[in-house]
């Protein structure tokens, strides 16, 4: 039997119990594709407004193109991360089945091909649905005025060729991520990765972060003279620095939670964070980025509405920041849902054993909530602290900056918990005994 036929056979006989993770993965691919197309459509629409041969320094339309590129750049990282997470989810739910296939005699090449087919088919399905999401959002986006006039649908539509290219890109991303995630199963037919004491993350990460932070403090004197692009440049550097220090902070945080845990919920949450601080960080890092973007959006609240050649620039930057924040927030919530679903699938045997031993589902739900809330708190303290540092001088210009910022932080926390709730049925199913 060919690999493709074997894969199709397994797909056809997929039980209802394995459909939810598949649905989550397809949803994640759809959100990633749709968001990417919206970002791309925005860039193209702004570029279309630049007159041929216009002076980049004096043409207001050119400033909008730069801002659109920055917004798209900020969205790109979480969107691509989401694509990778969705591929991991596909592999996580297939691990046991693929390991059994290896034991039954399937070669590692066949196993790899089947997984990649699975990832690619879900990415393709999600990509097509993503085009639908993008198309559905166009009538709304088309009405939003930028530089005094709305775009209309046509300039925001990227065209079928580019849309299909984006879908192919998402499929390629899924295939590569799936291949990387599958390495463990291909290496060992038992499909069991031995869990040992987690490796300590280097404290050098702290050093990198401190260097960037000092760079910001030193450079901040001249930053505002350098214009908004310099501010955004530093924000991007901060995002990178936070991603370096994030897992390390998670590890310390998890250890502190586990060491002081007096209840099984806190103990489980703390140990799980220590077990895989990178995964804990992945679950909340996009939230961290959202917090940083919230800071950026807050900054725009004190920019004047506009003047001279740029009569709408302040209003437009606020709207652009809001759209970026909304898209990243949606991506963050989907990422949280996908990460938590993957973790439940990985730990389903342990959940079942706990249920048999009489552990009430509420205890596990509380442990999972803590597992999310604790890293989120750490993320918010970390990202929020850095953002506050950046906002402090600007907040002197208007209290609404802080109101706007903390409002966005609360909304982000809500989205993350929403992502956790999406994976709740998987826990209930893993604990079902009958």
């Amino acid at each position: 039997m060919t690999t493709v036929r074997l894969w199709w056979l397994l797909r056809r006989h997929e039980s209802a119990t394995t459909r939810l993770p598949g649905l989550l993965a397809v949803t994640a691919f759809a959100v990633a594709t749709g968001s990417l197309l919206v970002a791309l459509g925005g860039v193209l629409a702004f570029r279309a407004r630049v007159a041929p041969g216009a002076d980049p320094v004096h043409d207001p339309a050119y400033l909008y193109v730069v801002l659109a590129y920055i917004a798209a750049g900020l969205m790109a990282v979480p969107i691509l991360t989401l694509g990778g997470l969705a591929a991991r989810l596909t592999v996580a739910r297939r691990n046991a089945r693929l390991a059994n296939l290896r034991l039954a005699g399937a070669t590692s090449g066949q196993t790899l091909a089947m997984t990649l087919l699975e990832s690619a088919s879900q990415a393709l399905l999600g990509g097509v649905a993503g085009i639908g999401l993008y198309a559905a959002s166009l009538p709304l986006l088309a009405r939003i005025p930028f530089d005094g006039k709305p775009f209309g649908v046509a300039p925001l539509w990227v065209g079928w060729g580019l849309a299909l290219l984006v879908v192919l890109g998402v499929v390629a991303l899924a295939v590569v991520s799936g291949a990387v995630s599958l390495a463990a199963v291909v290496v060992t037919p038992l499909g069991v990765s031995a869990r040992t004491t987690p490796a300590k993350l280097s404290a050098l990460r702290l050093l990198v972060f401190v260097v960037v932070l000092i760079g910001w403090v030193v450079a901040s004197r001249g930053v505002f003279g350098g214009g908004i692009a310099v501010v955004i440049g530093f924000l991007v550097a901060m995002v990178a620095a936070i991603n370096v220090i994030g897992p390390w902070v998670m590890m310390l945080f998890g250890r502190a939670v586990a060491a002081t845990a007096s209840t099984p919920e806190r103990l489980l949450a703390g140990r799980r964070i220590v077990d895989d601080p990178r995964s804990a960080w992945r679950a909340s890092s996009t939230m961290g980025l959202t917090v940083m973007l919230a800071a950026l959006a807050a900054v725009t609240s004190v920019i004047p509405d506009g003047a001279g050649d740029y009569p709408y620039v302040g209003t437009d930057m606020r709207m652009g920041a809001l759209i970026t924040l909304a898209i990243v927030g949606l991506v963050a919530a989907t990422s949280a849902g996908v990460v938590h679903a993957s973790r439940v699938i990985d730990q389903r045997l342990g959940y079942r054993a706990l249920a048999l031993a009489g552990c009430p589902p509420e205890t596990l739900h509380r442990a999972r909530l803590l597992e999310v809330v604790a890293p989120l708190l750490a993320t918010f303290v970390l990202a929020g602290g850095v953002a506050s540092l950046i906002l402090l001088p600007i907040s002197m210009m208007g209290l609404q900056v802080l109101v706007y910022f903390f409002g966005a932080v609360v909304a982000t926390a809500f989205l993350s918990v929403l992502g956790l709730w999406a994976s709740r049925p998987l826990v209930t199913r893993a604990m079902a005994l009958a």
């Binding site: 004491t197 054993a353 009489g358 005994l433």
Partner: protein
């Protein structure tokens, strides 16, 4: 079968467990687990045979009982019904004055936490928790403070030969050591009955014999009854009593046979 595994001094008298009870007369302190007229169907389809067909079984306090039979004979279903995991289609399971079949899911969960212990073939330890915390988890779930729970389970780990391994995670333990942690966890809350489903199925012969010997000795030392589901006649031979199932019914019970011979 190799039964020469060294036993910790805490569990003397293991040798007596290696022989089936001579008369079927078992420890009688405490209350028995009594199952009456158990019938269980997984689906309502009339053409599908029931997993259990009128099973009557009494597990007396402190006894070790092996449930044998071919695959699909209803062994694991019986174990799950006895432990309150599954609610049978018909029949009752009485334990310490309560009919498990009449209890809510929540009440049965609470009962499993407080009164029963479980050992499975593999996979029941949480990979992220060190051995000591894995063993202490049932106590913590029952509301015992962490420090107390860890202190109470340490002697059980010591008695099972796991001294110094409390900080190791399951992935850093051998299969036999992991199963002994599972035994410690099953016994942590001082259960009345320990249910074991193929507890040595994932172990090699010698290690399996050692683990089973320790399971028998440990449950006896704690005054708990042991119900073991197994395919292995050598494992069953170490238990005081063996019931054999076929097509959802008990077709042979050594205790009844011995009683019949005595009469």
């Amino acid at each position: 079968m190799n039964t020469t595994t060294t036993m910790p001094a805490a569990y003397p008298g293991r040798g007596s467990h290696a022989e089936p009870a001579a008369t079927g007369q078992l420890t009688t302190t405490g209350s028995p687990l009594v199952a009456t007229g158990l019938v269980h169907r997984y689906t309502a389809r009339p053409d599908e045979a029931p997993a259990l067909r009128g099973v009557h079984l009494t597990v007396t306090p402190g006894e070790s009982l092996a449930v044998m039979g071919p695959s699909g004979s209803g062994k694991t279903t019986l174990l799950h019904v006895l432990a309150g995991v599954l609610r049978p289609t018909e029949g009752s399971v009485h334990w310490r004055g309560a009919d498990l079949t009449k209890l809510s899911d929540r009440e049965r969960s609470r009962l499993r936490r407080s009164d029963f212990g479980f050992v499975f073939q593999s996979g029941q330890l949480l990979p992220e928790l060190p051995a000591g915390e894995n063993a202490a988890l049932p106590l913590m779930l029952a509301g015992v403070p962490r420090a107390t729970a860890l202190a109470r389970t340490q002697p059980i780990l010591d008695a099972l030969g796991l001294t110094g391994l409390a900080d190791r995670r399951p992935g850093e333990l051998s299969g036999g050591q992991a199963q002994r942690v599972a035994i410690a966890r099953a016994l942590a809350a001082n259960p009345g009955v320990v249910f074991a489903d193929e507890p040595t199925g994932a172990l090699d012969r010698d290690t399996g014999a050692g683990v089973l010997g320790q399971l028998l000795a440990a449950t006896r030392a704690h005054g708990a009854a042991l119900v073991v589901v197994t395919h292995d006649s050598e494992v069953a031979g170490l238990c005081q009593r063996v019931v054999t199932m076929r097509d959802g019914a008990i077709v042979h019970d050594t205790a009844r046979a011995l009683q019949a011979v005595a009469r």
